[in-house]
């Protein structure tokens, strides 16, 4: 078949990239080889637009065992335990086919975790949808949620946290980011780097079918009017097979049979074989007739580019093949020796006795294109005048409306569709500051959170990037954990657009500043570009997954108020920043102005002080103050604890609206018993922490002095209203 410009274009390869291919291999590629280049050189696999900037992120501290570049990041959580975690996007497939797209997103990230030898112990997710009134939203939301649940519930991994957000910028391109966390021993971590010549290359798991062909290329382009036609590029998940694959792999990992292991994710057999061999500076030769196929007459092109799920590639020590085969057969999985490692540094594919592809591995990996794309700085949004009528809005009515708005309402409609308690170690479920999972059989735990702040990032990517890292840090602190590291999922529009590329570059700058200052490095993640259509891109949405360690679970706290008659304090100074706040957005439909500034010194100082108070058992409950400000945070503490509060804002230098709804950063609410207040204040003063006493806990009602009083049952109904109403379920 002659390779025409049209075929090249269909593979998403630009004319100058095609010239580069010819230069690299010294001839024109055949169709199979072109497909392989397309799979390896697309944005999703090659990071060609982002690599330059990803390199600037801090990736190390004294707890990091493995940073970016492997299937997942690994950190040391003491006692020879290691935690493996990563977040990944599955945006494009989920928009085309929400159930399967979301399900295979979970499947893919779980494979990344157990590929490294870890048993998955928790998942989290961050999902973003268009406006609730958009005709596609309801179907996408229910499809994605049941897809995430359908996969994770079946395998039996608890979902312990996440977020659900709505914004018009996702109308034509939703976001589905899934994070998984696994546990292994420090001396039992498996890597993808191949070692040794003439070692057996083994295919295990499901058979290869014709689903998901060119999935990664699809995810590297914007949507157009024919996006429905892309359905065949979406993979179909089978969580049952994944569960078997998980158990079989972990069983084989008990001894030292495996040299290296790589799951077949994006770009399937192509990327897994290329990555393993090129990391090991070896070659690899595969006989495609040995690949187990689901359908008859599959061509080498289809076999190499299929993204069928639940498959793994292993390189095994000589002599261990029989035992490995026994394990996979016991679990009812395919097992086939499909090739071997070589010293040629080439990828060689044979089919029906003929050599059908022969490519130098460097052309697919280190010589892949790297772009230094043009970008434009985002001008800081001016502090234009506040809307005139904002003070006329009643505090009580505003609180009710915010609680009943989709982004701020209670999300149990979503959480309840995810198994949160399987594995018997879930200490804090979704809905708190962070999810908390006990390390099995021990009295320590890990705190897990995912966060994003798209409005802040859109208004100012540098501040937004900083803020979202700090928010994750704060959520980890608020349960009493020591924050250790993050994983990030960077969702952006088309990087060929200077403005979008600017958002990316500046967001990375913000993330990098905060991570560096807080000693909170990035150990894994992914980049998802081309989110949007030709006309509209999504708002920049970096999603941060944070992990912290709780050395002693007795030192953990929750956000729910514990008893009446305790003091309520605000840690950190309230300046009354209302630009980009939920109050302005929901109540006044006013979206202008800059996001709240982040002062990294205060962030760290306040956070470490709160952690100190928790470890000294001086606080009964802690909640970070984020979107919605003090009053929303207070409501959440009241509802979850079924304990009320009466507050009297202590200052008159700022207005009540600014005080109660302002979204200044680096703040926490804490509940303190009378007997502890003296010692607590002493510690705060010693550390130079700004704090204010704003009221006390009480029975049954949330009350703001001279403004309103509401019964907790009613408050609870308000916050539960939105989802149930949207899906027409009984309240």
């Amino acid at each position: 078949m002659k390779i025409t410009p049209k075929i090249i274009d269909k593979h998403g390869i630009k004319p100058d990239e095609y010239t580069k291919i010819i230069n690299l291999i010294g001839r024109e590629p055949n169709l199979l080889e072109l497909g392989i280049f397309s799979a390896m050189w697309n944005e999703h696999c090659s990071y060609k637009s982002s690599r330059k900037y990803l390199r600037t992120l801090p990736t190390k501290n004294d707890k990091v065992i493995q940073g970016p570049g492997e299937n997942a990041g690994v950190i040391d959580i003491e006692d020879n335990d290691a935690l493996v975690f990563k977040i990944e996007s599955h945006n494009h497939p989920s928009f085309i086919e929400p159930y399967q797209g979301a399900a295979t997103g979970v499947g893919g990230i779980l494979r990344d975790i157990f590929t490294m030898g870890a048993r998955p112990i928790a998942t989290l997710n961050s999902i973003h949808f268009g406006l609730p009134s958009h005709p596609k939203t309801k179907n996408l939301l229910s499809g994605v949620v049941s897809g995430i649940g359908g996969y994770g519930n079946c395998i039996g991994i608890p979902t312990v946290g996440g977020e659900v957000k709505f914004d018009s910028s996702y109308n034509e391109n939703i976001l589905v980011n899934a994070m998984a966390v696994g546990l292994t021993k420090k001396n039992k971590i498996f890597y993808s780097k191949a070692k040794g010549i003439n070692k057996a290359v083994i295919y295990v798991g499901s058979k290869t079918g014709r689903d998901g062909i060119h999935g990664a290329s699809m995810a590297s382009a914007e949507f157009d009017d024919d996006s429905d036609e892309k359905k065949p590029t979406v993979q179909v998940g089978d969580p049952f097979t994944e569960k078997l694959l998980l158990e079989a792999c972990l069983e084989l990992m008990k001894d030292n049979s495996i040299i290296s292991i790589q799951d077949m994710g994006a770009a399937g057999l192509t990327s897994s074989s290329v990555e393993m061999a090129s990391k090991g500076d070896l070659g690899i030769e595969i006989n495609l007739n040995k690949v187990p196929c689901r359908e008859d007459k599959m061509t080498p092109y289809e076999i190499m580019l299929s993204e069928s799920q639940e498959r793994m590639l292993l390189i095994i020590n000589s002599g261990k093949e029989e035992n490995a085969k026994k394990i996979f057969t016991k679990w009812g999985l395919d097992f086939s020796i499909i090739g071997n490692t070589t010293d040629t540094k080439k990828l060689v594919l044979n089919f029906n006795g003929e050599k059908v592809a022969d490519l130098p591995l460097s052309s697919l990996s280190k010589d892949a294109p790297l772009y230094d794309r043009k970008w434009k700085k985002k001008l800081n949004l001016k502090k234009i005048e506040f809307p005139k009528n904002f003070r006329s809005k009643k505090i009580f009515e505003s609180l009710k409306k915010i609680l009943m708005s989709p982004n701020n309402s209670e999300k149990s409609w979503v959480w309840e569709q995810y198994d949160q308690t399987v594995m018997g170690d879930t200490i804090q479920k979704p809905g708190g500051n962070s999810g908390v999972i006990r390390i099995h059989g021990k009295n320590k735990g890990v705190a897990l959170t995912v966060d994003s702040s798209t409005h802040y990032c859109f208004a100012n990517p540098i501040i937004g990037g900083k803020q979202v890292v700090c928010e994750a840090w704060r959520n980890l602190i608020a349960v009493g954990s020591n924050p250790i590291a993050i994983t990030n999922c960077l969702n952006f529009g088309n990087p060929e657009d200077k403005k979008i590329m600017g958002q990316f570059v500046e967001t990375i700058d913000g993330i990098s500043q905060a991570c560096t200052y807080l000693n909170f490095p990035v150990v894994s993640g992914n980049v998802s570009f081309y989110n949007g259509t030709k006309k509209n891109s999504i708002s920049p949405t970096p999603t941060i997954g944070g992990v912290g360690l709780i050395k002693n679970l007795n030192d953990m706290v929750t956000k729910n108020f514990k008893e009446s008659g305790n003091h309520i304090l605000i840690i950190g100074k309230t300046l009354g920043h209302l630009y980009q706040s939920e109050f302005f957005r929901v109540i006044l439909n006013f979206n202008e102005g800059p996001p709240p500034e982040i002062n990294l010194f205060n962030e760290k100082n306040n956070g470490l002080a709160v952690l100190n108070l928790i470890s000294k058992k001086l606080v009964n409950s802690v909640h970070d103050i984020s979107s919605g400000g003090i009053l929303i945070a207070l409501s959440e503490m009241c509802i979850s604890g079924n304990i009320g509060a009466i507050i009297k804002p202590p200052r008159n230098d700022i207005g009540l609206h600014e005080y109660l709804f302002g979204e200044d950063q680096s703040r926490y609410i804490i509940e303190v018993k009378e007997k502890n207040i003296k010692e607590l204040i002493k510690i705060l003063k010693e550390n130079g922490i700004y704090f204010e006493k704003i009221g006390t806990t009480q029975n049954k009602n949330l009350e703001v002095d001279k403004e309103f009083k509401i019964n907790l049952n009613e408050l609870n109904l308000l916050s539960n209203y939105w989802f149930k109403n949207y899906f027409k379920e009984d309240l």
Binding site: S146, G149, G150, N153, C154, I155, G156, D238, P239, F240, T241, K243, L244, W331, G332, S412, W415, E416, Q417, Y418, D419, Q420, T421, V422, M423, G424, D425, T426, I427, R438, L553, E729
Partner: protein
């Protein structure tokens, strides 16, 4: 007391139940579904999960596993059998318990803590609930809507074969406190001889104060007394 937990491909609460049994000094072993002989046991547990991916019908394929013949014999001889969640579904597919488990009324998976009223304490699984008959346990299922025709439900009621019913905090058994649409709020039932219990809630997930409660522990303590 000796127990055997049957592990099917796709079981995912097998470890959790083993941990719970061992915590209460019940000597447990895991038995792979493909075995033919059940080791000598006082108690057999069919754990939660998605045996065989729950393809075809929940529990349907597992009910034809090789080990099941011996499980049936064990039950017919009066041995104790506990089926939790998917295990309950399997017991029904085997025919050791009557009725059927339909999809939840709202047609979606449901994972939350629910209140239960212990209806029958005169059996080996529930005797210790004499001290506390309104309890809280987690449910996590898609097909837990217990259904039987009027005759069957009446028979279960008349013969006191309902072990647990969904209720509210005060113990009221009402439509409002029924999470999945089960007939008469049924959450767990016994066979006529009361040596077989099938239940949708997960006692093995609430055996520790850190996990917000110990109401599940009482079931294992009852077993120890039996």
């Amino acid at each position: 007391m000796k127990s055997s937990v049957i592990v099917f491909p796709g079981s995912n609460c097998d470890r959790d139940i083993a941990v719970a049994l061992e915590k209460f000094q019940i000597k447990n072993q895991m038995v792979w579904h493909d075995e033919i002989n059940l080791p000598k046991s006082d108690l057999v547990v069919l754990p939660g999960g998605f045996s065989y991916g729950d393809y075809l019908r929940t529990g349907a394929i597992a009910s034809k596993s090789k080990i099941i013949n011996d499980v049936i014999k064990h039950g017919k001889n009066g041995g104790l059998i506990l089926g939790i969640c998917n295990g309950f579904q399997i017991l029904i597919e085997i025919g050791l318990l009557p009725g059927v488990l339909l999809r939840n009324k709202k047609l979606r998976f449901l994972s939350k803590n629910v209140f239960l009223k212990v209806i029958n304490i005169k059996n080996n699984f529930c005797s210790e609930y004499i001290k506390k008959d309104i309890i809280q346990l987690p449910i996590a299922h898609n097909e837990g809507n217990y259904f039987g025709n009027n005759n069957l439900i009446q028979k279960l009621e008349d013969n006191n074969l309902i072990a647990f019913k969904y209720c509210d905090k005060q113990g009221l058994i009402e439509e409002n406190s029924n999470p999945n649409g089960s007939s008469n709020n049924i959450a767990g039932i016994l066979n006529k001889e009361k040596n077989i219990l099938g239940m949708m809630p997960h006692p093995e997930r609430l055996i520790d104060p850190l996990l917000s409660g110990e109401d599940g522990s009482i079931l294992f303590k009852s077993l120890l007394k039996s």
